[in-house]
């Protein structure tokens, strides 16, 4: 009932195309995140699903019913906004029940909905307050309560946590996830924060410049990015990109890296067959910070890793890990090492490179080389 289909949807403003043929299938009960930098069209897409914006081309269906020409109120959706958008002159109770009242629900229905929502979000004690008397987190909870009251087929969230401070944001993230587990309603959630995307979503839709770049589970998108943009956008600190040339050594394809002191050969995983035809050509090597760590003296020999010393330029302790900047092929490269390794700037340190998850990109098309 709460499935969402977006088929070849295009959005144009005059001659400017904001969304270029979007296709997306969301299963009933799924939690899908639309993520991308500002201006990528994710909020426009959400507004089109809500009916607040018109569709230039294509079809949007909610629960199998094409809704292109239905006004927002007839789409069986509810939406939570970044600015909360509570009605300031009404108290929490009236805010939550406004939608039901407009729809001429009976007093009994409204009472039931209010009890259910207040219990789900634990805000029985807030019902008589005005929005101005609530904290940011409480306002956001009321906004969710307003959405929950009508028990819609589809929830839309438009950057709901962006106005909250960092700590509250983490708490509300957990709360939204628990909420989804409880109500099992389909959720489409827009954010520009890749951590929110990773932690909340069943699936992530990464968008850029009006196009869907990749759709997948958080782990798929993280481990197996489709292109340079997705690889760089998902993950914090972001993936290191090193320009290098493909060469063949002892029958294995790989790339050479130099760290100022010397050059070393990095063999590519044999599964990447696309490198064969690029011998002698430039590619971009992608390696995540956690794949370059300090040597673990207790680990056995890992056939997928090589060890190499490098000079440390900058040290950034984060607490659980320490980020270390080295320079490879003239590019600063972030490595994530154990704080116990206590590296110091301008020292040389032995590092272990995990090569099993190396990725390569074409510098022209920015697509993955597989």
């Amino acid at each position: 009932m709460g499935a969402l289909s977006i088929r070849n949807v295009v959005k144009r403003y005059g001659s400017v195309t904001i969304l270029k043929s979007i296709n997306l299938e969301v299963r009933d009960g799924e939690f899908v995140i639309l993520v991308g930098p500002s201006g990528c069209g994710k909020s426009t897409l959400l507004n089109m699903i809500a009916g607040l914006d018109t569709v230039s081309e294509g079809e949007i269906a909610i629960g199998g019913r094409v809704v292109n020409n239905l006004p927002p109120k007839d789409r069986d959706i509810a939406m939570v906004f970044q600015s909360y958008a509570l009605y300031p002159t009404m108290n929490v109770r009236e805010n939550i029940l406004f939608g039901l009242r407009i729809r001429k629900a009976t007093a009994q229905e409204m009472e039931g909905a209010l009890a259910r929502v207040a219990k789900t979000l634990q805000m029985e004690h807030l019902l008589d307050r005005k929005p101005s008397q609530l904290s940011g987190g409480q306002r956001q909870r009321v906004a969710m309560g307003r959405a929950l009251a009508r028990d819609p087929a589809l929830f839309l969230f438009d950057e709901p946590l962006s106005n909250l401070d960092a700590k509250l944001r983490v708490d509300m993230r957990t709360e939204i996830k628990l909420l989804h587990d409880r109500v099992k309603t389909t959720i489409v959630y827009v954010t520009h924060d890749q951590i929110e995307a990773m932690t909340l979503g069943d699936r992530i839709v990464v968008m850029k410049e009006g196009e869907v770049r990749q759709v997948g589970t958080p782990q798929e998108v993280y481990d197996d990015p489709a292109d340079l943009f997705v690889a760089g956008f998902i993950g914090s600190p972001s993936m290191n990109f090193i320009r290098c040339t493909v060469e063949s050594r002892n029958g294995r394809l790989g790339v050479s890296l130099h760290d100022g002191a010397g050059t070393f050969f990095v063999p590519a995983p044999p599964s990447i067959t696309g490198l064969g035809e690029r011998a002698g050509k430039e590619v971009i090597l992608g390696i995540r910070p956690e794949q370059i760590t300090d040597k673990d003296p207790y680990a056995g020999a890992n056939p997928h890793s090589i060890e190499q010393s490098a000079r440390i330029e900058v040290v950034q302790p984060t607490g659980p890990d320490t980020l270390v900047l080295i320079r490879l092929n003239g590019t600063p490269v972030t490595c994530r090492v154990h704080p116990g390794a206590s590296p110091k700037a301008s020292q040389t340190m032995g590092l272990s490179f995990d090569l099993s998850k190396l990725v390569f990109f074409d510098p022209q098309t920015e697509k993955r080389i597989r």
């Binding site: 607040l52 006004p71 109120k73 509810a78 939406m79 009605y87 406004f98 939608g99 407009i102």
Partner: protein, 293 residues
């Protein structure tokens, strides 16, 4: 450097205060003097006015001039005081204020929260209305009222003031509603509320501060207006400003300064009343939206 500046300001602060307050008191006296003279003169007898000093306090207080101004003073040929004109003014000022405020609120709502192609141009065009002098529209307005069959009627005067006031009221409400988040309207649309429901149930309840500003402004403008009143109103239903003019300029008989003063104060009382009652909202309304509420 900063140390020096602080030392200097600490020493000069008391002196600076003195100058500021001294100036304020002086200006206040300057502005209150005419009111003082009007009040004292209105309760003096004619003999005392002729004999005495303009700024002297009255020796005996009498309200004869007030009752004469209200009930029996002659404005031209008619000698029934200002009371008829007072209620005549009320009868067109109140509807004109209410209607122009409501339409202004509605215009502001549409121009900010339901923007359409050209809505900004339309708003700019309406703004031009703020800069058109009264005199310019007299003839075309007279013609329009003639076509509408409203010439020399109270509804006609209401119509003139509503049309002329719309530019201002729209400006007020538009600038107030600009600070209303558009998302609130989106939320209400998803909740199922329509165009008018959103206006009545959500936007208008937000608006008391700006409604107060608008009412004060419109009431003062329309009540004090002379030109439209003298041109577009019929003889007996003349507004109080016109009647006051006639009363003061009546050239027959003795010049009754006390009656003139009482009449002028009567004519000014309603606007004073509006300021006193709603004044505290006035400043609040003018700055509304500048602070996150």
């Amino acid at each position: 450097m900063a140390e020096f500046a602080r030392a200097e300001s600490a020493g000069g602060r008391a002196f600076g205060r003195l100058i500021v307050y001294g100036l304020l008191v002086l200006v206040a006296i300057y502005y209150l003097m005419p009111l003082f003279v009007m009040l004292t003169t209105s309760v003096k007898s004619l003999e005392e006015i002729r004999a005495g000093n303009l700024v002297a306090l009255p020796t005996s207080i009498t309200f004869d001039a007030w009752s004469k101004a209200w009930g029996t003073a002659c404005t031209g040929a008619d000698c029934s005081g200002l009371k008829g004109n007072f209620w005549a003014s009320m009868s067109f000022v109140l509807p004109a204020v209410v209607i122009s405020t409501l339409i202004g609120a509605f215009n502001g709502y549409v121009l900010t929260l339901w923007r359409f192609k050209g809505s900004d141009i339309l708003f700019t065009t309406m703004l031009v209305g703020c800069f058109i002098p009264f005199q310019v529209v007299l003839l075309p307005m007279a013609q329009t009222l003639g076509w509408l069959g409203l010439a020399n009627t109270t509804p006609g005067l209401v119509f003139v003031h509503v049309v002329y006031g719309l530019a201002f009221t729209t400006l007020f409400f538009r600038n107030f509603y600009v600070s209303v988040p558009e998302e609130m309207v989106k939320a209400a649309r998803i909740d199922g509320a329509g165009f008018f429901t959103i206006f009545w149930r959500i936007i208008l309840p937000l608006s008391p501060p700006i409604i107060v500003v608008c009412v004060i402004w419109q009431f003062t403008q329309i009540w004090n207006d002379f030109l439209f009143g003298v041109v577009f109103s019929g003889g007996e239903r003349q507004p109080i400003t016109v009647a006051l003019n006639n009363l003061v300029n009546t050239s027959t008989g003795v010049k009754e300064y006390n009656v003139d003063m009482a009449a002028a104060i009567i004519a000014a009382l309603p606007t004073l009343f509006v300021y006193v009652v709603a004044g505290k909202y006035f400043v609040r309304g003018l700055t509304a939206g500048s602070v996150k509420g």
